[in-house]
Subunit: 235 residues, 2 copies
């Protein structure tokens, strides 16, 4: 937790806010927090700055906030990701938030197990929790937009054109394709498949939607590693 992220319901007065639960425990256990200490802080989807600890008990901590800076810029990317298995999903949500992805679309794919869509980790509160952990890590406040698309074909045929308009459209796929480009400055829409990869039908559909296949070399990476590697290379 490199930043204390306050949410609207934490405010008790104009510049005063209270934390409890996980964030309080972290302060007590990791920071040996005492009144008068300053912490880096931010408000969800808003500014960043400093929070002065006014008082703290085992139940709650009260801060005075002075927020004067804007959070780090987002990466101009829409990441389309075949829904990962639940345990990996949680880490990927954190990673995506910490790296600054602006929009994440979790899609179905032939190799996504149906049961993955039933996980409680896809509930809005659970997704929110992991995204917040990623934001706290990266000292950001702005939640990525997250969309769920449980049917691949209507998503690609009916909605993807509008969502990927005016962006460089890439689909990551091992094979005899161009190497993934580096250091782009324009908006990107990037599609990353599940463990085992996209099937050819899916790559064909994405190509018909204007996506260019790109690859990262002959090593096959776990999805969460591939997500980070592709983002780090693209921007």
């Amino acid at each position: 937790m490199n930043l204390i992220l306050f949410e609207p319901q934490d405010f008790v007065a104009e510049q005063q806010a209270v934390i409890q639960g996980r964030r309080l425990q972290h302060l007590l256990q990791t920071h040996n927090a005492e009144p008068g200490q300053q912490f880096r802080a931010g408000v969800l989807n808003s500014m960043v700055g400093q929070a002065e600890l006014l008082n703290i008990s085992s139940d709650q901590a009260l801060f005075h906030l002075s927020l004067d800076s804007i959070p780090p810029e987002k990466l101009p990317i829409t990441l389309i990701l075949a829904l990962p298995r639940p345990k990996m999903l949680r880490r990927i949500l954190q990673t995506v938030a910490s790296m600054g992805v602006a929009r994440l679309i979790l899609v179905n794919s032939f190799r996504v197990e149906k049961s993955f869509w039933q996980t409680p980790f896809l509930q809005p509160e659970a997704v929110h929790e992991q995204l917040v952990l990623g934001l706290e890590q990266a000292k950001d406040t702005v939640l990525p937009e997250v969309m769920l698309e449980k049917r691949f074909k209507p998503f690609v045929e009916d909605r993807l054109a509008a969502l990927s308009q005016n962006s460089v459209k890439l689909v990551a796929h091992p094979g005899n394709y161009a190497a993934c480009p580096r250091a782009l400055t324009e908006p990107v829409t990037l599609a990353i498949g599940p463990e085992g990869g996209w099937i050819e039908y899916e790559v064909d559909k994405l190509q018909q939607a204007g996506f260019t296949p790109v690859q990262l070399g002959e090593r096959i990476l776990r999805v969460e590693v591939a997500v980070t590697a592709l983002l780090a290379r693209l921007f």
Copy 2:
């Protein structure tokens, strides 16, 4: 498991080898394996190619191996990493092996908890197991060299010069430094700190040893994400 990795003790004849345990369970559960099927295979620290399944039971599987190709090239990098917490260590060992790091040096640092050095995950067999998982993922066979350095100062003062000779020497550190370079082709020695980062004394010592501080932007990433992001950007 994108490649069945055979170790020397698996061989029962010149081109025949037997697997049991984890690898066998994976074959039975994921591949519905039957005699006659071909699998991508390799031999530890040696060639890659195909393995034909000759017979399989719930106890073991026997293969005929035809190995005719060399494994993917390693990245020309020595990664110096402050010892991560045990749970993260296991994933990082897999990641480092899958991305093709040639040499990994786990070092002490002021912010590494002493207890981390006691973890059973640092035992040679445990390290080997995670590295093998990474190699199987990336279809590689060649183990990265792994070294443990429990004392920072004598390592940096007495041994680092020889280990980093003729390489680009970089230390990842947030701050007002140059951006991490991209797409290098020469050998690199890269030092990545623990959660919370190197302390200034450590950065100073590394700078005295010829290392240049570089940064990845204002977002602070978890160590495992930073490792992948830096490797993907450097090569």
